[in-house]
Amino acid sequence: MDVIVQQFFDLNVMRDNFGLIWDGFQQTLLLSLIAGGLSLVWGLVVALLRQLPGRAAAPIRWLTIAYIDSFRGIPLLLILLLVNGSLGALNGDPLPEWLAVPNWFGEPYQFWYGIFAITLTYGAYMAEVYRAGIEAIPSGQMEAARSLGMSHGQAMRQVVVPQAVRTVIPPLLNDFIALMKDTSLVSFIGFVEVVQAGQDVYQVTYNVSALTLGAIFFLICTIPLARVVDWLIARQQARYQRGGIDGPTPTETTSGPLGGTAGA
């Protein structure tokens, strides 16, 4: 029993390497927040492009569907390796260096490759969540807006999207939890975030306690988030049951590229 506790919860290992793991986790948080924020915006853009009306917009709709299907169907790790393997090789021709080997805000190019890959993948997931939200808004809302002379874009902006976004906050948070865990994949291309930091310690000490510490950091963030999701859903349902404004909650909770949502 002591051996097991010693292997996972060696307080000396944790204490000695706390700084390294904490530094790694800060990188994890930074990756999560930047990629999460970009995915939220990019996903909404894609969802809106997919909803464009009219025959003229058909090629755009078709492209967005192809994009969503592709990036939901390919593992994030593979996307990450594709980005990592290709961007550097395109440096100078045709891509300028600032884009091919970005070094923005003092973060190394691996960090930004990770941001690209995660945003591309999770943008596709979140686009589907937004779509479920937009389609759950009764068609009478769009009609009323159009009957007042609003264009499709104005009706989306003023009427449909503000209502849709409210209903999809819980599933988007679920996706964010999955995204946060998936930032660990960026370690594959040589970026030291919390998992890689823990693994580095393991390779010196042959003890996984530093990894356990990393896991604890994750749980400190993800468990409260999961509770927030539950609370928001319960609130929406209560509101819906007494005939409130939010309407049915889109129940679709997409799972992350590696198949896991931490929700509930």
């Binding site: 009764p138 009478g140 809302q141 009609e143 009323a144 807006a145 159009r146 009957s147 007042l148 002379g149 609003m150 264009s151 499709h152 104005q154 902006r157 003023q158 009427v159 503000p162 209502q163 409210r166 005939g243 409130g244 404004i245």
Partner: protein, 250 residues
């Protein structure tokens, strides 16, 4: 604005959804200030007719001329928006924007579509909500309003665009009986003020009292039309008689 011709003229308007023919040749002329009530059994195409007039459902065939200019065949977004600004619509299910309060519901379109300033739009909205008797509900959200109050906000919302024609699509059908009168009273006032209105309704006494012209529709065509008293009391067509017999006697 004193256009000599009718405000609205429909000729041979057809609409089908796939195989289903909903409108099979509608002709109509409506002059400024007219109140036209459209009655008929459900499925007769009354609502579709209104939705064609503001191009929510573009007709497949026929002509609609609004204030001297043909609107059928218009596909550009700007032209359609322009049509819908001049043709206000009120729906059976109210369709208020649930995330906006009464004042915002009424002022949002003038601000976004007509580029009015926020203050100007709010002032106008306050006046309109006063006109429909809701001065004390400006800040309320739709979920806290009764059906009758919601429908009156919806009327104010349509009026905020200064429409030249108002379409009412069974606006009292979703209301509890005791709330019907407050909505009809607002519509009666509008009619008295000279608004051009097309009213799809099952309220026969309202039609008799307020309409200048009554149209009976069935199976996508106009079966009979004329002065309300004449159509209601002495219907010429068998189908009209049958329908009125079902609606009036109970």
């Amino acid at each position: 604005m004193a256009a000599p011709g009718p405000v609205l003229e429909l000729s041979g308007v057809h609409k089908h959804f796939g195989e289903l023919e909903v409108l099979r040749g509608i002709d109509m002329k409506i002059s400024k200030g007219d109140v036209v009530c459209v009655v008929g059994p459900s499925g007769s195409g009354k609502s579709t007719l209104l939705r064609c007039i503001n191009m929510l459902e573009p007709p497949n065939q026929g002509q609609i001329i609004l204030e001297g200019k043909e609107i059928t065949g218009e596909t550009s977004a700007d032209a359609l928006c322009d049509v819908r600004q001049r043709v206000g619509m009120v729906f059976q299910q109210f369709n208020l924007f649930p995330h906006k309060n009464a004042l915002e519901n009424v002022s949002v379109a003038p601000v976004t579509v007509l580029d009015r300033s926020k203050e100007e739009a709010r002032q106008h909205a306050t006046e309109l909500l006063g006109r429909v008797g809701l001065s004390d509900k400006l800040g309320e959200y739709p979920e806290r309003l009764s059906g009758g109050q919601q429908q009156r906000v919806a009327i104010a919302r349509a009026l905020a665009m200064d429409p030249h024609v108002m379409l009412f699509d069974e606006v009292t059908s979703a209301l509890d009986p005791e709330l019907v009168k407050e909505v009809l009273d607002v519509m009666r006032e509008l009619a008295d003020e000279g608004m051009t209105m097309i009213v799809v309704t099952h309220e026969m006494s309202f039609a008799r009292e307020v309409a200048d012209h009554l149209v009976f529709m069935d199976e996508g065509v106009i079966v009979e039309q004329g002065k309300p008293a004449q159509v209601l009391d002495n219907p010429k067509e068998e189908r009209t008689r049958r329908f009125l017999g079902l609606v009036l006697e109970h």
